[in-house]
């Protein structure tokens, strides 16, 4: 009984702020390393389980493609113009949005579109050199693009040639022949096209969610 009491208490802690405040922020507020779940007893429930057991209560409404969530989300897909020059599997690159660390953003920079808790994604003005932005339609979230470009299939000779041409190396992994090229905010598109025009396999990198401690 005590275990269940604690478990539901923790669930309450997690669920209530969402229900009460209806936060629109997409920031994940809970991590495993800080929130440790009291033990579930997987074994006990098995004693009462049979595979044919059915619940009488069922939802009448149809599910959508997305998982069932507590807070309905407005789609951000209509909030930006797709960039015609960039194709990236799983993402759409926004032509008219930029991103800025939250503490440096002010409304004068442009309309706030999305706040991930750490960064502000906003409608950037022409010649604003801020970092490009990728959109994940499935998750309805924006992510910054790295200013580092990935180049595949670069041997040592090509690597040296690129360095001689003034490209700044961020890192090189010889076993994989992958070279990482440093650019700056506002120069990413130019450098991407410059390397692409040389026939090199150049790739953008989305700064998506990082792995977390298990």
């Amino acid at each position: 009984v005590k275990k269940h009491y604690i478990f539901f208490s923790l669930l309450g802690l997690a669920v209530i702020p969402i229900l009460l405040f209806k936060s629109t922020s997409e920031e994940e507020k809970v991590t495993h390393s800080k929130w440790q779940r009291p033990p579930l007893d997987r074994q006990n429930i098995l004693l009462d389980y049979s595979p044919n057991k059915s619940n009488k209560k069922r939802m009448s409404e149809k599910k959508t493609r997305k998982p069932a969530a507590l807070a309905p989300q407005k789609s951000f897909a209509s909030k930006f113009e797709p960039h015609p020059d960039f194709k990236l599997k799983g993402y759409t690159i926004a032509k008219d949005l930029g991103v800025m660390p939250k503490k440096r953003y002010n409304s004068g920079l442009g309309e706030l579109i999305f706040d991930d808790g750490k960064n502000i994604f906003y409608r950037r003005r022409e010649k604003d050199p801020s970092t490009l932005v990728a959109f994940s339609a499935g998750r309805n979230k924006f992510f910054p693009l790295s200013t580092i470009l990935n180049l595949k299939g670069i041997d040592q000779e090509e690597r040296q040639q690129l360095k001689n041409q003034g490209f700044e190396e961020y890192h090189y992994i010889p076993a994989l022949k992958i070279m990482f090229i440093k650019t700056a905010q506002g120069e990413l598109e130019k450098t991407y096209h410059e390397l692409g025009s040389k026939g090199l396999q150049v790739q953008l990198e989305v700064l998506d969610e990082r792995p977390r401690p298990h």
């Binding site: 390393s33 579930l40 998982p67 790295s146």
Partner: protein, 597 residues
């Protein structure tokens, strides 16, 4: 619901009080380790040991004598990986080189500093991320890496603290993970996760320990470059014998992010579906699956991970030194042990609350270090083989059929979470099974892999292991649909692939399955081998995101290890949710890796 919210705060003082009351009630039980006899009761009353490791008396993952490990309840005596037995035979992972890629390590920790590989640490968050000097944690709360490293490589028999599973192994700390303590800044945009991720697979190390992973609320795409990097490691590492990559399966059995619940599967993190990794699930001190441990057919073995350390035992290990850093820094309950109020941990240099599959992975890394010490000529595949053959089957009590984890939440909560029907299966459908036996005689489980790693049997087998496995072969084929997937039914959509004249003994099987379906999170995927055995490679009704452009699943299963490759393979897709959503099975790619008989 408000009552539940308030109840959480009301229970905090109760928990603290119970811990206070618990002191001095630790049962008396003998724990023989390293030639010295310890007594839990003596530890609790502060007896100082010389020439040994006092906290090892509470380290049930080394030897389970039914210790409480400073929690409220005792584990089950004997439920361990026989690590102490291997130590007593003299195996300690001597000089085996382990890269712990994590959140950095307190390199000055007195129980760790003597085992570090000076000059080989990497700090990917320094100003020049590939100019490595040290790997101290970036933030005083980044304690995870110090705890993981202590589990595998804390010094043994030095008169302080605890003991690693491989106490004479040597570690290099990679500061690779970064907890989200600090604000974003412009420098963040000038980083490359991919560069760090690929780099941390490379180097002259015997074992790479990865106690981390992506949140399993969605199906993450495979990074082909990462797969190439791992292949390079098992091909070139250890002078061609192959480095070992050990990774935790995840803590998402039941999990949630900000707005919804999901039910994780280690195949959702495609990085774990590499045949070159050893994926590890977690057990608690009673020797059964830990409450959080993510299941998946890509799990190889399981090991101690523990529970919360408050009610049930977690793992005792090293913490960032001092009472203003590490677990004591992140402390929310000010528990006696972590916070330095317990005489066994006055300096706050240890924690009793490390848990998760993060803890299970370094246990296995430590066992592998001992195997390598016993027989350095073993290849990475020989070691996987030894782990599988010697693992102990655990949790064999009936029933064998497993329910959807949503049943643990209860119907009222499922209703509140808008997933009322998620745990309801079509009549006659079995969500998962605890154990299956394949035609080669291996017992396999999505919860446990081949079972709990057994250090004693593994080192013994290694010492008498005379011939390496023959070179690895592979076979790949694809077949196409479409085949209709029926909503909420035990009728399945199936595509077969016939394998002939390959004559391989199977090591791993990978599948890629493309569907055209409006609700792919409803789908379960079963792979049926020519022997008729079934591996549930994706468990259905997981409530996961699915933003792949062509709705394809990637998964790996170890369930058919040792079976024959030839015959008809079938992928079967079931729709487990009654919501009118239907679709088609479009493509089935099968890749088998194995060896000649």
């Amino acid at each position: 619901v408000k009552t539940k919210f308030l109840a959480f705060f009301l229970i905090i003082p109760l928990l603290s009080q119970s811990c206070v009351k618990d002191e001095g009630k630790i049962p008396v039980s003998a724990n023989t380790a390293g030639g010295a006899t310890f007594d839990d009761n003596d530890v609790a009353t502060g007896t100082i040991y010389t020439g040994s490791d006092p906290l090892t008396a509470q380290a049930w993952h080394i030897k389970n004598t039914g210790q409480k490990a400073y929690s409220q309840t005792a584990g089950l005596s004997g439920q361990d990986s026989k690590i102490n037995d291997a130590h007593e035979l003299g195996y300690t992972g001597k000089n085996i080189r382990i890269a712990v890629s994590d959140s950095g390590v307190d390199l000055a920790h007195p129980d760790l500093s003597g085992n570090q590989l000076v000059g080989e640490h990497r700090n990917y968050f320094s100003d020049n991320p590939f100019d490595w000097i040290d790997a101290f944690p970036v933030h005083q709360g980044d304690a995870h890496g110090t705890a993981v490293t202590g589990i595998v490589s804390a010094r043994g028999w030095n008169g302080i603290g605890t003991r690693g599973v491989a106490p004479d192994s040597k570690f290099a700390a990679f500061s690779f993970l970064l907890e989200d303590f600090q604000d974003s800044n412009d420098a963040f945009f000038a980083t490359s996760y991919k560069a760090r991720n690929l780099d941390q697979t490379q180097g002259d190390f015997d074992i790479f320990n990865y106690s981390y992973g992506r949140r399993q609320y969605k199906f993450w795409e495979i990074d082909g470059d990462e797969m190439d990097a791992l292949e390079s490691g098992v091909t070139l590492g250890r002078s061609g014998k192959g480095s070992l990559y050990v990774q935790s399966s995840g803590n998402s059995y039941i999990d949630f992010i900000s707005s919804y619940f999901f039910f994780g599967n280690s195949n959702m993190d495609s990085s774990l579906s590499s045949p070159h990794k050893i994926v590890v699930g977690a057990l608690n001190a009673n020797g059964v699956v830990a409450s959080y441990s993510t299941p998946g057919s890509n799990i190889w073995v399981s090991a101690a991970g523990g529970e919360d350390g408050i009610i049930e035992p977690a793992i005792i290990t090293t913490d960032i030194t001092g009472c203003d850093a590490g677990y004591s820094f992140t402390e929310i309950l000010n528990l006696l042990f972590d916070f330095g109020s317990h005489h066994d941990n006055g300096g706050c240099n240890y924690t009793n609350r490390m848990n998760g599959t993060s803890s299970a992975a370094p246990v296995v890394s430590g066992v592998i270090a001992m195997i390598l010490e016993a027989k350095p000529t073993l290849t990475w595949r020989d070691i996987k083989h030894i782990l599988a053959v010697t693992a102990d089957q655990v949790d064999t009590t009936a029933p064998n059929n497993l329910p959807h984890p949503g049943l643990f939440l209860g119907q009222d909560l499922l209703d509140d979470l808008l997933i009322s029907d998620i745990a309801t299966m079509p009549i006659g459908y079995v969500y998962d099974v605890k154990w299956m036996t394949n035609s080669a005689g291996f017992k396999f489980s999505n919860w446990y892999g081949f079972g709990r790693v057994n250090a004693l049997q593994a080192v013994l087998m290694a010492t008498t292991y005379n011939s390496n496995l023959s070179p690895q072969l592979s076979f790949e084929d694809v077949e196409y649909g479409p085949v209709n997937i029926i909503d909420f039914s035990t009728d399945f959509a199936e595509i077969p692939i016939t394998v002939s004249d390959q004559n391989m003994i199977i090591e791993t099987v990978e599948v890629q399955v493309a569907v055209n379906h409006t609700s792919p999170q409803d789908l379960a995927l079963h792979l049926v081998s020519p022997s008729g055995r079934v591996s549930r490679v994706i468990l259905g009704n997981n409530n996961a995101y699915f933003d792949s452009s062509d709705n394809h699943f990637s998964a790996l299963t170890n369930a058919f290890y040792g079976e024959s490759s030839d015959g008809v393979w079938r992928i079967r897709v079931y729709d487990l949710r009654q919501n009118g959503e239907e679709g088609t099975l479009e493509r089935f790619v099968l890749k088998i890796r194995g060896r000649a008989p």
